[in-house]
Amino acid sequence: MTPERMAELVARWVRFYTRNLPAPIARRRIGEIDADVHDHVAHERAHGTDERRIALGIAARMIRGAGADASSRRQTIARSSTTKEVKMSKPVHRSAVRVALVTAVVLLVPFVGMQIGDGVDWGVFDFVLAAVLLAGSGFLLELAVRKPATLVYRVAAITIGVAAIVLGEADDAPGLVVFGCLLIGGTLALSVRTALRSQ
Protein backbone atom coordinates (compact mmCIF):
# COMPACT_ATOMS: atom_id res chain seq x y z
CA MET A 1 0.00 0.00 0.00
CA THR A 2 1.48 3.34 -1.05
CA PRO A 3 0.92 6.58 0.91
CA GLU A 4 -1.16 7.88 -2.02
CA ARG A 5 -3.47 4.86 -1.88
CA MET A 6 -3.82 5.28 1.86
CA ALA A 7 -4.50 9.00 1.44
CA GLU A 8 -7.24 8.06 -1.02
CA LEU A 9 -8.71 5.64 1.52
CA VAL A 10 -8.69 8.33 4.21
CA ALA A 11 -10.35 10.77 1.79
CA ARG A 12 -13.09 8.21 1.13
CA TRP A 13 -13.59 7.61 4.83
CA VAL A 14 -13.92 11.37 5.46
CA ARG A 15 -16.44 11.71 2.66
CA PHE A 16 -18.34 8.74 4.07
CA TYR A 17 -18.70 10.03 7.60
CA THR A 18 -19.45 13.59 6.50
CA ARG A 19 -22.18 12.49 4.05
CA ASN A 20 -25.47 14.37 4.46
CA LEU A 21 -23.91 16.79 6.95
CA PRO A 22 -24.32 20.51 6.27
CA ALA A 23 -22.08 21.38 3.30
CA PRO A 24 -19.81 23.92 5.09
CA ILE A 25 -19.06 21.45 7.90
CA ALA A 26 -18.40 18.58 5.48
CA ARG A 27 -16.24 20.74 3.17
CA ARG A 28 -14.19 22.01 6.06
CA ARG A 29 -13.48 18.56 7.49
CA ILE A 30 -12.66 17.14 4.03
CA GLY A 31 -10.33 20.06 3.28
CA GLU A 32 -8.59 19.86 6.63
CA ILE A 33 -7.92 16.14 6.43
CA ASP A 34 -6.76 16.38 2.79
CA ALA A 35 -4.24 19.04 3.80
CA ASP A 36 -3.21 17.11 6.91
CA VAL A 37 -2.54 13.87 5.04
CA HIS A 38 -0.69 15.74 2.29
CA ASP A 39 1.51 17.45 4.90
CA HIS A 40 2.02 14.14 6.70
CA VAL A 41 3.26 12.40 3.54
CA ALA A 42 5.47 15.35 2.55
CA HIS A 43 6.98 15.57 6.04
CA GLU A 44 7.75 11.86 6.31
CA ARG A 45 9.23 11.71 2.80
CA ALA A 46 11.41 14.71 3.57
CA HIS A 47 12.75 12.74 6.55
CA GLY A 48 13.40 9.65 4.41
CA THR A 49 10.74 7.46 6.01
CA ASP A 50 9.95 4.20 4.25
CA GLU A 51 6.85 4.41 2.01
CA ARG A 52 5.15 1.49 3.77
CA ARG A 53 5.71 3.06 7.16
CA ILE A 54 4.19 6.32 5.94
CA ALA A 55 1.09 4.49 4.70
CA LEU A 56 0.82 2.60 8.00
CA GLY A 57 1.18 5.82 9.97
CA ILE A 58 -1.66 7.43 8.03
CA ALA A 59 -3.85 4.33 8.48
CA ALA A 60 -3.13 4.30 12.22
CA ARG A 61 -4.22 7.93 12.56
CA MET A 62 -7.40 7.24 10.61
CA ILE A 63 -8.25 4.22 12.77
CA ARG A 64 -7.40 5.93 16.06
CA GLY A 65 -9.66 8.85 15.15
CA ALA A 66 -12.56 6.79 13.80
CA GLY A 67 -14.47 6.80 17.09
CA ALA A 68 -14.20 10.57 17.32
CA ASP A 69 -15.27 10.85 13.67
CA ALA A 70 -18.44 8.88 14.37
CA SER A 71 -19.15 10.84 17.51
CA SER A 72 -18.61 14.18 15.67
CA ARG A 73 -21.08 13.05 13.06
CA ARG A 74 -23.69 12.12 15.66
CA GLN A 75 -23.26 15.45 17.45
CA THR A 76 -23.43 17.47 14.23
CA ILE A 77 -26.62 15.69 13.18
CA ALA A 78 -28.15 16.20 16.61
CA ARG A 79 -27.31 19.91 16.55
CA SER A 80 -28.05 20.77 12.96
CA SER A 81 -31.56 21.70 12.00
CA THR A 82 -30.66 21.30 8.32
CA THR A 83 -29.61 17.71 8.75
CA LYS A 84 -32.59 17.09 10.99
CA GLU A 85 -34.65 17.16 7.82
CA VAL A 86 -32.20 14.78 6.14
CA LYS A 87 -32.23 12.62 9.24
CA MET A 88 -35.99 12.46 9.27
CA SER A 89 -36.53 11.98 5.56
CA LYS A 90 -33.80 9.64 4.29
CA PRO A 91 -33.79 7.07 7.08
CA VAL A 92 -37.63 7.01 7.14
CA HIS A 93 -37.50 6.14 3.47
CA ARG A 94 -34.76 3.57 4.14
CA SER A 95 -36.69 2.09 7.07
CA ALA A 96 -39.78 1.67 4.91
CA VAL A 97 -37.77 -0.05 2.18
CA ARG A 98 -36.04 -2.30 4.72
CA VAL A 99 -39.32 -3.34 6.39
CA ALA A 100 -41.04 -3.89 3.02
CA LEU A 101 -38.17 -6.05 1.77
CA VAL A 102 -38.04 -8.22 4.89
CA THR A 103 -41.84 -8.61 4.87
CA ALA A 104 -41.82 -9.58 1.19
CA VAL A 105 -38.99 -12.11 1.67
CA VAL A 106 -40.73 -13.74 4.65
CA LEU A 107 -44.05 -13.91 2.78
CA LEU A 108 -42.30 -15.52 -0.17
CA VAL A 109 -41.67 -18.59 1.97
CA PRO A 110 -45.37 -19.68 2.28
CA PHE A 111 -46.05 -18.46 -1.26
CA VAL A 112 -43.30 -20.67 -2.72
CA GLY A 113 -44.41 -23.47 -0.38
CA MET A 114 -47.91 -23.30 -1.89
CA GLN A 115 -46.51 -23.59 -5.41
CA ILE A 116 -44.37 -26.66 -4.78
CA GLY A 117 -46.48 -28.76 -2.40
CA ASP A 118 -49.73 -29.25 -0.53
CA GLY A 119 -48.32 -28.65 2.94
CA VAL A 120 -49.04 -24.89 2.87
CA ASP A 121 -52.50 -23.56 2.18
CA TRP A 122 -52.70 -19.83 2.72
CA GLY A 123 -55.58 -17.63 1.56
CA VAL A 124 -55.43 -13.94 0.71
CA PHE A 125 -56.54 -13.08 4.24
CA ASP A 126 -53.62 -15.06 5.72
CA PHE A 127 -51.13 -13.18 3.56
CA VAL A 128 -52.66 -9.80 4.42
CA LEU A 129 -52.68 -10.62 8.13
CA ALA A 130 -49.07 -11.86 8.06
CA ALA A 131 -47.99 -8.79 6.08
CA VAL A 132 -49.63 -6.43 8.58
CA LEU A 133 -48.10 -8.33 11.50
CA LEU A 134 -44.61 -8.42 10.00
CA ALA A 135 -44.61 -4.84 8.70
CA GLY A 136 -46.10 -3.52 11.95
CA SER A 137 -43.48 -5.30 14.03
CA GLY A 138 -40.75 -4.16 11.66
CA PHE A 139 -41.77 -0.52 12.00
CA LEU A 140 -42.00 -0.91 15.76
CA LEU A 141 -38.40 -2.16 15.86
CA GLU A 142 -37.29 0.65 13.53
CA LEU A 143 -38.92 3.17 15.88
CA ALA A 144 -37.25 1.51 18.86
CA VAL A 145 -33.86 1.82 17.09
CA ARG A 146 -34.50 5.49 16.26
CA LYS A 147 -35.62 6.40 19.75
CA PRO A 148 -33.60 4.14 22.03
CA ALA A 149 -34.46 6.22 25.09
CA THR A 150 -38.20 5.56 24.63
CA LEU A 151 -39.24 2.30 26.26
CA VAL A 152 -42.77 2.27 24.82
CA TYR A 153 -41.79 0.79 21.44
CA ARG A 154 -39.71 -1.96 22.98
CA VAL A 155 -42.44 -2.84 25.47
CA ALA A 156 -44.99 -2.91 22.63
CA ALA A 157 -42.73 -5.18 20.55
CA ILE A 158 -42.27 -7.61 23.45
CA THR A 159 -46.04 -7.57 24.12
CA ILE A 160 -46.74 -8.46 20.49
CA GLY A 161 -44.08 -11.17 20.66
CA VAL A 162 -45.62 -12.71 23.79
CA ALA A 163 -49.12 -12.49 22.24
CA ALA A 164 -47.82 -14.23 19.09
CA ILE A 165 -46.31 -17.06 21.18
CA VAL A 166 -49.50 -17.50 23.26
CA LEU A 167 -51.76 -17.44 20.17
CA GLY A 168 -49.38 -19.70 18.27
CA GLU A 169 -49.36 -22.25 21.10
CA ALA A 170 -53.17 -22.15 21.42
CA ASP A 171 -53.74 -22.40 17.69
CA ASP A 172 -50.96 -24.94 17.07
CA ALA A 173 -49.18 -22.50 14.75
CA PRO A 174 -45.41 -22.99 15.15
CA GLY A 175 -44.68 -20.19 12.67
CA LEU A 176 -46.39 -17.68 14.93
CA VAL A 177 -44.40 -18.96 17.92
CA VAL A 178 -41.13 -18.60 16.02
CA PHE A 179 -42.15 -15.09 14.97
CA GLY A 180 -42.89 -14.16 18.59
CA CYS A 181 -39.56 -15.58 19.76
CA LEU A 182 -37.66 -13.68 17.06
CA LEU A 183 -39.44 -10.45 17.91
CA ILE A 184 -38.67 -10.79 21.61
CA GLY A 185 -35.08 -11.82 20.89
CA GLY A 186 -34.58 -8.86 18.53
CA THR A 187 -36.05 -6.44 21.03
CA LEU A 188 -33.87 -7.76 23.84
CA ALA A 189 -30.77 -7.56 21.63
CA LEU A 190 -31.68 -3.96 20.83
CA SER A 191 -32.10 -3.16 24.52
CA VAL A 192 -28.70 -4.66 25.34
CA ARG A 193 -27.08 -2.66 22.52
CA THR A 194 -28.74 0.55 23.74
CA ALA A 195 -27.63 -0.11 27.32
CA LEU A 196 -24.04 -0.77 26.21
CA ARG A 197 -23.93 2.36 24.09
CA SER A 198 -25.27 4.55 26.88
CA GLN A 199 -22.47 3.44 29.26
Binding site: V10, V14, R28, R29, G31, E32, I33, D34, A35, D36, V37, H38, D39, H40, A42, H43, G57, A60, R61, M62, I63, R64, G65, A66, G67, A68, D69, A70, S71, S72
Partner: protein
Protein backbone atom coordinates in the same frame (compact mmCIF):
# COMPACT_ATOMS: atom_id res chain seq x y z
CA UNK B 1 -12.35 9.64 25.96
CA UNK B 2 -12.72 10.91 29.56
CA UNK B 3 -15.97 12.66 30.47
CA UNK B 4 -15.79 16.42 30.84
CA UNK B 5 -16.59 18.08 34.16
CA UNK B 6 -18.62 21.23 33.45
CA UNK B 7 -16.41 24.24 32.83
CA UNK B 8 -13.20 22.26 32.49
CA UNK B 9 -10.97 21.19 29.61
CA UNK B 10 -10.22 17.62 28.62
CA UNK B 11 -6.53 16.63 28.88
CA UNK B 12 -6.21 16.61 25.07
CA UNK B 13 -7.68 20.13 24.83
CA UNK B 14 -5.31 21.38 27.52
CA UNK B 15 -2.42 19.75 25.67
CA UNK B 16 -3.44 21.45 22.41
CA UNK B 17 -3.64 24.83 24.10
CA UNK B 18 -0.28 24.27 25.79
CA UNK B 19 1.42 23.36 22.52
CA UNK B 20 -0.33 26.23 20.72
CA UNK B 21 1.00 28.61 23.36
CA UNK B 22 4.53 27.21 22.95
CA UNK B 23 4.27 27.64 19.17
CA UNK B 24 2.96 31.16 19.62
CA UNK B 25 5.83 32.03 21.96
CA UNK B 26 8.33 30.67 19.45
CA UNK B 27 6.99 33.02 16.78
CA UNK B 28 4.39 30.79 15.11
CA UNK B 29 1.22 32.79 15.61
CA UNK B 30 -0.80 30.32 13.54
CA UNK B 31 -0.61 26.55 13.24
CA UNK B 32 -2.27 23.87 11.13
CA UNK B 33 -3.53 20.38 11.90
CA UNK B 34 -0.53 18.27 10.95
CA UNK B 35 1.91 20.84 12.34
CA UNK B 36 0.06 20.72 15.65
CA UNK B 37 -0.06 16.91 15.71
CA UNK B 38 3.68 16.83 15.01
CA UNK B 39 4.42 19.42 17.70
CA UNK B 40 2.27 17.50 20.20
CA UNK B 41 4.19 14.33 19.45
CA UNK B 42 7.50 16.12 20.00
CA UNK B 43 6.17 17.77 23.14
CA UNK B 44 4.88 14.57 24.73
CA UNK B 45 7.68 12.34 23.49
CA UNK B 46 5.09 9.96 22.07
CA UNK B 47 5.77 7.80 19.02
CA UNK B 48 2.31 8.21 17.51
CA UNK B 49 0.58 11.22 16.01
CA UNK B 50 -2.90 12.06 17.31
CA UNK B 51 -5.68 10.46 15.24
CA UNK B 52 -7.31 12.67 12.63
CA UNK B 53 -10.80 12.48 14.12
CA UNK B 54 -9.60 13.04 17.69
CA UNK B 55 -7.48 16.04 16.75
CA UNK B 56 -9.98 17.88 14.57
CA UNK B 57 -12.88 17.22 16.90
CA UNK B 58 -10.90 18.74 19.77
CA UNK B 59 -9.88 21.71 17.60
CA UNK B 60 -13.52 22.27 16.69
CA UNK B 61 -14.54 22.22 20.36
CA UNK B 62 -11.82 24.69 21.32
CA UNK B 63 -12.99 26.98 18.56
CA UNK B 64 -16.57 26.70 19.82
CA UNK B 65 -15.37 27.66 23.30
CA UNK B 66 -13.75 30.78 21.80
CA UNK B 67 -10.24 29.64 22.75
CA UNK B 68 -9.07 29.22 19.15
CA UNK B 69 -9.91 31.03 15.92
CA UNK B 70 -9.39 29.60 12.45
CA UNK B 71 -9.35 30.57 8.80
CA UNK B 72 -8.37 28.98 5.50
CA UNK B 73 -4.89 29.63 4.19
CA UNK B 74 -4.66 31.88 1.11
CA UNK B 75 -4.62 29.94 -2.16
CA UNK B 76 -1.40 31.73 -3.29
CA UNK B 77 0.43 30.65 -0.14
CA UNK B 78 -0.64 27.04 -0.63
CA UNK B 79 1.30 26.82 -3.92
CA UNK B 80 -0.48 23.82 -5.37
CA UNK B 81 -0.92 21.71 -2.25
CA UNK B 82 -4.29 21.48 -0.42
CA UNK B 83 -5.03 24.66 1.54
CA UNK B 84 -4.50 24.34 5.27
CA UNK B 85 -6.89 25.50 7.96
CA UNK B 86 -4.85 27.88 10.10
CA UNK B 87 -5.59 28.11 13.81
CA UNK B 88 -4.54 30.75 16.30
CA UNK B 89 -5.03 31.20 20.03
CA UNK B 90 -7.52 33.91 20.92
CA UNK B 91 -6.80 36.27 23.83
CA UNK B 92 -8.97 34.14 26.08
CA UNK B 93 -7.34 30.98 24.70
CA UNK B 94 -3.87 32.29 25.56
CA UNK B 95 -4.97 33.14 29.11
CA UNK B 96 -6.58 29.70 29.57
CA UNK B 97 -3.49 28.01 28.11
CA UNK B 98 -1.20 29.86 30.53
CA UNK B 99 -3.47 28.94 33.41
CA UNK B 100 -3.63 25.32 32.22
CA UNK B 101 0.17 25.11 32.10
CA UNK B 102 0.46 26.64 35.55
CA UNK B 103 -2.16 24.30 37.01
CA UNK B 104 -0.61 21.29 35.34
CA UNK B 105 2.70 22.17 36.94
CA UNK B 106 1.25 22.48 40.43
CA UNK B 107 -1.87 20.28 40.69
CA UNK B 108 -3.69 17.45 38.95
CA UNK B 109 -6.84 19.61 38.74
CA UNK B 110 -8.33 19.76 35.22
CA UNK B 111 -7.85 23.23 33.71
CA UNK B 112 -10.91 25.48 33.58
CA UNK B 113 -12.46 26.83 30.39
CA UNK B 114 -12.53 30.44 31.53
CA UNK B 115 -9.61 32.09 33.24
CA UNK B 116 -10.48 32.75 36.87
CA UNK B 117 -10.79 36.36 38.01
CA UNK B 118 -7.73 37.78 39.72
Amino acid sequence: MPRRKPGTLLPLEAEILGVALSLSRSGHATFHGFGLAHAMREHSGSRALTGHGTLYKALGRLEEFGLLASRWEDAETAEGRPRRRLYALTGQGARVAEQALAEAATTARPPRLASEPA
